[in-house]
Subunit: 335 residues, 2 copies
């Protein structure tokens, strides 16, 4: 299969994108990567990386959306920016998927603009994978849809569940609805109505009900359903708390050790690597035709390679067909 | 001053409440505590604790709101529950403040029912104090108002700022609005409208704009303004991530140390104590007449004592007068 990579996207420019493509090509023999970006910058990098030309094409895109640029404006002013060219290639059927570490808003805006949503999907959403005490969980949505309707959240539960099953290999994913308390009736109208949709729908046997912020990392829930505002705060807060706690651990636990400081420093590095977002292969925008994986702006080679690997896996397992099949089993409902 | 303590509230019953009262009385010579609860259970505990009777009165309340009980129902069925008797004592002027580790929803419901809000306050909110890399910050609201209006959030900024200034001793508290990105125009209608109110109001010089989840713990913001839904998720998520990371630290860093395991275990304990919620004196419900401090259900003696100490400090510095003075400086606005 062929995956387009927004080779100019991310905080570090094309370097980690080309490096990531090289790693992904090594790991996935059935993969070909289309690097989309400034040909003049990309050609020497590709040559230096020693990537097989037969599996790594360059498609020129003269522009880049900057990380701080407003997506709607960028779309008007730079229709030929690398990320939008990736979407165009996917719409034309020239690639099966796309990966970008660029401006998240622009990646999502590009996808919404195509309006090529999967059958039965009202609004695509971003899923992200988090480590927990017992493995991993999916949180959806983390920012594509900041003021959703209950029906959107129901569909996110379905899509997140299919992703957990076929990509994370959880046989019967358990779902939870992010709320401010466990009891039925908690929270605002959106979550109350969403609760009813889950409780009375075909997912009811896998729906564990409302969950609270402290439940996510305990690992009992495989799919956390939430609006894109709350989900985005959750995602970035986890990053912040992890950074904060690990700094404290270094200062207050590791630094004062009389004998084992080096061993402990190594262990800290191992833990940071194990729970770093780069280990989890980016965040898929689910609900669009094709595959779209959004990476953290600060992604390096390994993070890009993992995202390309997940994109390839999504294509291989026919994730979208499985999503549509489950969505078709939902009772019809207004948006 | 006199502070009522919901002596039956919390996961551990009256024990930690009486223990906390004893510690607080020792630390605050100007304090008297009114223990509200079942006299038969409280009398022997008070006698055993050796608390001076002149500064520790018992007011009998025959009922308790259970932790899982629905607040509205509890209010109907048990108007004589300890937490509601605390509110009654405050409404009558018999006490200056109240502290409860009981059912948070019931504490808030009791306060909303009195309708004794401070002048210029449309809706009370819960403020909580969090550790950061540079000290502490206040987050408001964390659960009293899950679907607020922009005006409520503006008032939370004012109240949180007064709390940060006079209780946490931050001379010029900087405010940030919880959002999904830093740029103006991000997020849903509530935060967009709230942004405008801050940007064009008397707090504009202290308003740092939108902040993201990862900014909270970095310590640049003293007051994080957010709706009660997001704030509640943030509060509980921080607890969950902290627990998760510290478990990983124990397993993957401390346990394998060849020589310094005991030293490191001590340091872990120190860090857990330093960043445990009990160190931060409970969460004030700001905007009501009198003082109300809500404690974590699992509070032990030290947490209760710290909350009583903060309640006493609120009274001492006349926090409410200062809140009203700042709210009066806001331009009038519809709710």
């Amino acid at each position: 299969m062929r995956i387009a990579l927004d080779a100019m996207g991310g905080d570090h420019g094309p370097g980690p994108n080309v490096g990531g493509a090289r790693l992904a090509l090594e790991a996935n023999p059935d993969l070909a990567v289309v690097l989309v970006g400034d040909r003049a910058q990309l050609e020497p990098l590709v040559a230096a990386a020693g990537v097989p030309a037969s599996r790594c094409e360059i498609v020129h895109a003269p522009n880049v959306v900057e990380m701080k640029e407003k997506p709607a404006e960028a779309m008007r002013r730079k229709p030929d920016a690398s990320v939008f060219v990736c979407w165009k290639l996917m719409a034309e059927g020239a690639v099966d998927g796309l990966v970008s570490a660029g401006n998240t808003g622009a990646v999502v805006a590009g996808g919404l603009k195509t309006r090529r949503f999967l059958k039965c999907v009202h609004r695509p959403g971003i899923a992200t994978v988090m480590p927990t005490a017992k493995g991993r969980c999916v949180i959806m949505d983390v920012g594509a849809n900041v003021f959703p309707k209950p029906r959107h959240l129901l569909e996110y539960g379905v899509m997140g569940g299919v992703f957990a099953k076929h990509i994370l290999n959880v046989p019967e994913p358990k779902l939870g609805l992010m709320n401010v308390g466990e009891e039925e009736g908690k929270g605002h109208e959106l979550v109350q109505k969403t609760y009813d949709l889950f409780r009375n729908g075909p997912l009811k046997d896998r729906f564990l009900g409302n969950i609270e912020g402290r439940d996510i990392h305990r690992g009992a829930i495989d799919v956390v359903v939430t609006d894109g505002f709350t989900g985005n705060v959750v995602l970035k807060l986890c990053e912040g708390v992890f950074e904060f706690v690990m700094n404290m651990v270094n200062q207050e636990i590791v630094a004062p050790l009389p004998n084992d400081r080096d061993v402990a420093t190594q262990a800290v590095r191992g833990l940071l690597g194990k729970y770093h977002y780069s280990a989890f292969g980016g965040a898929p925008l689910l609900g669009v035709e094709g595959v779209c994986i959004i990476c953290h702006g600060s992604s390096k080679d390994r993070a890009i390679a993992n995202a390309l690997g997940v994109a390839a896996l999504d294509v291989r397992v026919k994730l979208n067909e499985k999503i549509v099949a489950e969505l078709e089993a939902l009772p019809p409902g207004e948006e």
